[in-house]
Symmetry: none
Subunit: 217 residues, 4 copies
């Protein structure tokens, strides 16, 4: 067998046999697809398999059971978020700018990846037994990211210290979610909807909603 043919046969292998993590990734994507269309409970293992172009049995070679697929989806999203937030913290930005960038990412993700985004907003209701305690839930993680920035702002004196960072984080995420949810049900192009939203959220948050002339309502 010549060296060339050896290489060829390697290529052939590469084309047909996937390495395990690729397969797992395919299944994850298919699951995200189906779950965000149908919701977790109407999503059957058969449908995930079909969407992934596999047979049911194969799914069980990569995941213990149906719930583990969901756990894995969130695990991946958490890792992405952690990584982004770590980079964000390494950059020398003002807290306000950081809030903006974190929100921007939120909307960019929603744009690029409607499915994941829908799923992430919806997930609170899913009865996932197996997600162990030590693994932070995605929404808790997201909130803690915003909290962390706010606390930094308080520490540096820019942000009022009589605020509850957790509460304010809830406000930010709530505002963002309401926009994303709106984008699910509107015909308007998401681009249009998301344009300038981070900006507006942050501005309202920083300066309040009162008109400058009259500070009484």
């Amino acid at each position: 067998m010549s060296e060339v043919s050896l290489i060829i046969s390697r290529e052939v292998i590469a084309l047909t046999k996937k390495n395990p993590s690729e397969r797992k990734e395919e299944i994850r994507k298919a699951a995200v697809q189906v779950i965000s269309n149908l919701g977790f409970h109407k999503t059957t293992t058969d449908k995930i398999a079909e969407a992934a172009g596999l047979s049911v049995g194969t799914i069980y070679n990569y995941f213990e059971d149906k719930e583990e697929i969901l756990s894995y989806i969130f695990e991946v999203e958490r890792e992405k978020l952690k990584s982004f937030f770590s980079d964000l913290n390494d950059s020398a930005q003002s807290p306000a700018k950081k809030l903006r960038l974190l929100l921007d990412r939120h909307f960019e993700m929603a744009l690029e990846n409607k499915k994941e985004s829908k799923l992430l907003i919806d997930h609170r209701q899913m009865p996932v037994r197996k997600v162990s305690v030590e693994i932070l839930d995605y929404s808790i993680l997201l909130k803690s990211c915003f909290q962390s920035i706010l606390e930094e702002g308080i520490a540096s004196g820019g942000v009022r210290d009589d605020l509850d960072p957790e509460l304010i984080s809830g406000m930010i995420i709530g505002a963002a979610d309401s926009v994303v949810v709106k984008s699910f049900f509107t015909d308007e192009s998401p681009d249009e909807i998301f344009k300038g939203v981070s900006e507006r959220i942050i501005r309202a948050l920083l300066h309040g909603i009162l008109s400058s002339k009259n500070q009484q309502v």
Copy 2:
């Protein structure tokens, strides 16, 4: 059939038969109870029947199917909210005060009726096919209530007119939900958690989060 037995049977009927709307209400309450304990998907019709002290079959005399029970639950909640909001609008309060009062109601309900409250926050996930378009979703209604007050504030000049009322409503609801959700998972007494929250949310909303000395962050 003897007279005696007739009387007896009347008494029996008197004891068991209720007027239809009472029965429906009993079933609704039982369903709220069970659903908020177990989540919609682990809630079986048998369990609802048991909680209502009825048999399964009876439920189907008052509701077409399981989903209709859920629709009805939200219908009732929407009616309550509409009624409250109507009264609120009739009162001569400032917009800021109205926002406070609407938030207060939110938390009072959460306190009094943890079950309904949990359910209302959770409902987005429920696969209710039959909720027809014309029936406004509870959360949409709630948002529109806040929006309406904000628009009033803008009209009267107290609130800045460069804000998106929908966005700000989302912020308020997001903040509120995050507190309520927190109360589900914490050992702290809900009274303690909810004390002064409306106040704090409104204050942050009105004046922003920047420290007064330094308006740059």
Copy 3:
């Protein structure tokens, strides 16, 4: 409603609606039927349901799961055996006679109820997790019955006291089982096969197999 019509309506109920224990008994019989034909592992819940003239779901109204059906079958058999043995002990028979009668019952049951009998002999292999320790296994119970008679014989001096009653019980049951098993695979009528077997087993057991003239082999 007259008394007569009351009674009639009760009878009507009696004819159509079975009381729970009757249904359970029907399922038990169907299960015995199917299991002894196919073995426990090839017996599907569907087949049991079909044999019982019911649908799968109904079975699960009476049994927790498939294994519980098996547990129940043995529970019933153990109860029957206990009851028989209790009566046997109340009678004033010699130990030898008791052994005979217990064996006779064994074969009578095998005759009348081939299915149950096959199942009882086969059951050791079935992976029944749920049979709790305190519930004596049928075969252990049967052995303990024989043991008990033998110990009585030893106590009264008729039986040698240098024997291990457990071992001898094993001998008796082994002999009996081998005959019953043979009856499963032979064309000979079971009546013919079982005729006089108890007698022969007991005789061999009591006096041994050596020819009387020569006590050396």
Copy 4:
């Protein structure tokens, strides 16, 4: 392919390739191991492969299907027994002595090879469709060995001729099995349990269980 790589590949082959019967034997041993631990039905082909240090596919190069593995296991055991019995018959022992030696072998095997032993006792329950009629079942073979010795005893006059050798064989095997089964579930060391059992079984069998003084029970 260069010469070097050829040599390497030959060495690899030399390390992994075994002659077919060795491989088959490895698989057989692994299967015995796994089956007697888990029972036939919880034994998967994957587990057998793992225990054999092979991959599933390989097993199917040596066996048609899963059941054939089981057939083969018993085939091997039957051959071993036949060989032993042939040697036993060639020796000039009294029938009583032969019974003793055959029983001794039974218990020695149980001692040495708990796994096989358990499997042999349990096998009646296994749903082996493919074991063809011409292949004698192990337990039938064992019984026929005992029968043959007993018939020799009858022929030579030492054993009473009014006995059914098949029945007596059943007694012996039943007694033996009950001891072996006991050893599976007891903490007592098997050595202790098996010590002198053959002796005791044969003695009881030869002379019966009646106390010598009193031949009535």
